[in-house]
Amino acid sequence: MNLQSRFGWVMRWESMLGLVLIVEIVLFASLSPYFLNIWTLSDATFNFTERAVIALPLALLIIAGEIDISVAAIIALASVAMGLAAGQGVGTPGLVAVGLGTGLVAGAINGALVTLGRVPSIVATIGTMTLFRGVAYAVLGDRVLKEYPASFSVFGQGYLVGPLSIELTLVVVLAVVFGVFLHLTRWGRTIYALGANPIAARWSGVPVDRYRFMLFAVTGLCSGLAAVLLTSRLGSTRPSIAQGWELEIVSMVILGGVSVWGGKGTIPGVLLAAVVLGLVNFGLGLLNVPGIVMSIIVGALLILVVAIPVIGQRWAAARPARRAS
């Protein structure tokens, strides 16, 4: 026990992720001569930036004991809304407002269903996922929207200084904001309390539903932001945009050490998991390994991540018993 508390930081989930990240960088650098180039690494960040923008608020939501799997569908809906607005000649600031606004409204709908409608969040967001993506398909069919003004491409393709992209800057800023909010404010502590025991939180006078609603709304807003970034980077909108991302983003959050049971998890962990996954994706691409092989690794990792603590506990619980007998 003493040993564990002194070297506790070694066993922390974030430290493990950091270690994996270092191993990953060394491995890819030795396997490919192109990896350790500053521009290559800058390119690699695009593999996780848009997903990370959503993973951060989603981490808060999952820590609070809820889940939102409609995030990728919100991207599609917001992207379609922006595409239609662009077709009407709306300028870049207007498009950003449309994207963010659509995301916020979609998130508010989720929040209202969960708080006012008392629908379990997984059911509500499976429903709205189908609905939002369905509306995107209904409006667009098999068409493509790509009449975006030239200045719109700055968000997804622009760089702040040198190889530091605007997307990466945004992710870092958001991570700091969410990290400070979750770990250093009273509201953040309340979110943990909410996830650990919502009934106790309610009895302690926490306005549980207001917190839930706000978290869903913020997750929707960030999904709208991700839609702006992704649409700007791709320069086009199809209804199938960001298909399957909800599962990748949820995987990202859980690999970051957030407990699906709620009440546990950190922002640095989620950010590290995002970088680790993004780099694996990019590195495997560099080595010509198809993306689907990557999905096997991510899937197995996901199960391992939740299984290891359980197996560890069993092992720890079984040991003294064996010694006694």
Partner: protein, 326 residues
């Protein structure tokens, strides 16, 4: 108990009425929709969804969820397609056994992880979904198995017609009938409800809810495996991405059919009606002249509406006995 059952029966009746009304409205405008051949086609079209949804219902009843069904279906389907390609003379029976067997093993893996390690079902099946889908690629090397590589028996079984309905439709009808009787009148069927309705009470009566969960996953997996063969034979092609995202349609059918995600509530009739609802809309849209792209949006509206309505009903009847679900 009686109250819940009555409300479930009322709900099924209402849903049945809605499906009939929908069917009647489409028929009134387009009489050819009610032609026996077209009705048979709607059935044929919904058969795989019905079977998968019944398996999924078992899992949800015991407080689980299986996101890996479509990946299981695709992996088992690829397995039998490759088997058939390499051993075309083996006949259909080994194919069926292989499909059901591989599906059951894949389901058992989910079940053991959930039961023995007490891992959250949504994470386990999210993980196995990716793993199974990736394994298809490794198994097939990313290639397609086309109809000219499949034996006539392999392709013909699902299309064989009996009394105007395909074998595929009959399988769904038989499956639904067996499930309806089994869930209502056998001890095993009641055990699924008991394990999900109140796990601690079930434990006191000597029932292991985890074991029932594992059992539900295995059955759900076996059905998914069988549907893998049926899917590959029906569409006469197997590749890595078949049935991609279909798991959500299966879960949607369950939710429309009144299966409660919190476990313990759901009927076979409701689930079948939920599937038929989706099936009727899917087949009516092109007739009515609405783009099939609307299907998904309509499903979404229906799921949300059904979820809000059933949440309200639960509030009224059960909130006194149950603490607020987190």
């Amino acid at each position: 108990m009686r109250m819940t059952q009555n409300s479930a029966a009322r709900r099924d009746l209402a849903l049945g009425f809605i499906v009939l009304l929908l069917f009647g409205l489409v028929t009134a405008a387009f009489p050819q929709f009610a032609r026996p051949s077209n009705v048979a086609e709607v059935f044929d079209d919904s058969a795989i969804l019905i079977m998968l949804a019944l398996g999924q219902m078992l899992v949800i009843l015991t407080r689980g969820i299986d996101l890996s069904v479509a990946a299981n279906l695709a992996l088992s389907g690829m397995l039998v397609a490759l088997f058939n390609k390499n051993y075309p003379g083996a006949g259909v029976l080994p194919v069926l056994l292989l499909a059901v067997g591989s599906g059951a093993v894949l389901g058992l893996i989910n079940g053991m992880l959930v039961w023995r390690l007490k891992l959250p079902p949504i994470v386990v099946t999210l993980g196995t979904m990716s793993v199974y889908r990736g394994l298809i690629y490794l198994l097939s090397g990313g290639t397609w198995v086309n109809d000219n590589m499949m034996s006539p028996g392999f392709l013909g079984l699902v299309r064989f017609e009996l009394l105007g309905l395909t074998v595929l439709a009959w399988l769904a009808i038989i499956g639904a009938t067996v499930a309806a009787f089994g869930m209502r009148y056998t001890g095993l069927g009641r055990d699924f409800y008991a394990a999900g309705g109140n796990p601690s009470a079930a434990t006191y009566t000597g029932l292991d809810p985890g074991r029932m969960q594992c059992f539900a996953y295995t059955i759900c997996g076996a059905i998914a495996g069988l549907c893998g063969y049926l899917w590959v034979a029906r569409f006469a092609v197997a590749y890595t991405d078949i049935a991609l995202g279909f798991e959500l349609q299966v879960i949607a059918a369950c939710l429309i059919g009144g299966v409660a995600i919190a476990g313990g509530i759901g009927t076979v009739a409701g689930v079948v009606l939920g599937c038929l609802f989706i099936g009727v809309i899917r087949n009516a849209l092109p007739l009515v002249g609405i783009s099939p792209f609307w299907q998904m949006g309509i499903n979404g509206i229906v799921i949300v509406a059904a979820a809000v309505l059933s949440a309200r009903r639960r509030e009224d009847k059960r909130s006194i006995l149950e603490t607020q679900t987190a």
